[in-house]
Symmetry: none
Subunit: 156 residues, 2 copies
DNA sequence: GCGCTATAATAGTCAAAGATGGTCAAAATA
DNA sequence: TATTTTGACCATCTTTGACTATTATAGCGC
């Protein structure tokens, strides 16, 4: 019953709850959780990626640090373009979920809408051989993204 | 010997009697019943499918789990059952749109949500040879339907 | 004091091992 | 024959550790 990664994720998000960024020592944090330092990198890579709306800055050596910055929502028009590009012709479920969470964080979609996005792109919905799944997911998700932004504009 | 699958089904439903969802370890449950882990998947597939009004979420790896979510039996639940049956294993776009319009008329979904349902099930989204399209649309749409009713309940 | 180097103090990368759950078809059973 | 049960093999997620890269600072010769 590890969930070490989840605990670390929560801990970091707790630290960030007030601010848009947080700075920490990788080794200290690892020691605090009694794990290998590289575990921290794993959490950052899987939970604080750009797709999740975060930027990581760091510095090695004496006085080194890791800084986690929550990105501001870009202008919505640009964001749509960027996301469509990001999705491309094929995308896995994890990345889609990260993007959906980002949209939710930026309050571009409601929680109900986010859940619909997930329902349509999850592995249960797309009952296909694995190879085709990501391609299909990309197609479905792009359609939904366009709709999300159309809705956000109050358009037709 | 009573059917193992039936016993497992009862056991899971017992666990869910209080709540709308339950989370379990596949291997633990299998061990509890002294059966192969894949037996659990069989039970989930045959007794807790979308057609039965359940959603399955899961995660592999350390800290993995299987979560089973169900619809509470309510008036709306009857509508959901009816709709799931109506959708069946295959459905065309026109019929889906009619159902979505119905959900909108009943104010079960907002206009934005309706537009997402359409975006995920429209012909643009499901880029596939024509033969498979309706089948896939049915799978995607059923998943979304369950989600819609889950949302309507203000559930998990 | 200045510049150089060695050392210590950080953080990053990657691949292997561990921990789950998923799939599918053959075997068993009703 | 249809359903159930199992097992071999697969996919995914997490955790760790050995090895690498970078930076600050102390110490040294001048």
């Amino acid at each position: 019953m590890a969930q070490l990664s989840d605990a670390i994720e929560r801990f970091i998000k707790e630290l960030m709850s007030e601010d848009q960024h947080v700075e920490l020592r990788r080794n200290e944090l690892a020691q605090h959780f009694g794990c290998a330092p590289s575990q921290i990198n794993y959490v950052l890579a899987t939970r604080f990626s750009v797709d999740h709306g975060y930027l990581i800055e760091s510095r090695r050596g004496g006085g080194g640090y890791v800084r986690i910055v929550r990105m501001r929502a870009r202008q919505e028009g640009n964001l749509l373009d960027a996301l469509i590009k990001r999705v491309g012709n094929s995308i896995d479920e994890e990345t889609v979920n990260a993007i959906i969470q980002h949209l939710r964080d930026c309050e571009i979609v409601t929680e109900n809408e986010a859940s619909l996005l997930r329902a349509a792109t999850g592995r249960n919905a797309l009952a296909l051989p694995v190879s085709g799944k990501d391609v299909l997911r990309a197609a479905v998700f792009k359609n939904m993204l366009i709709q999300v932004f159309r809705n956000a504009e109050g358009g037709v």
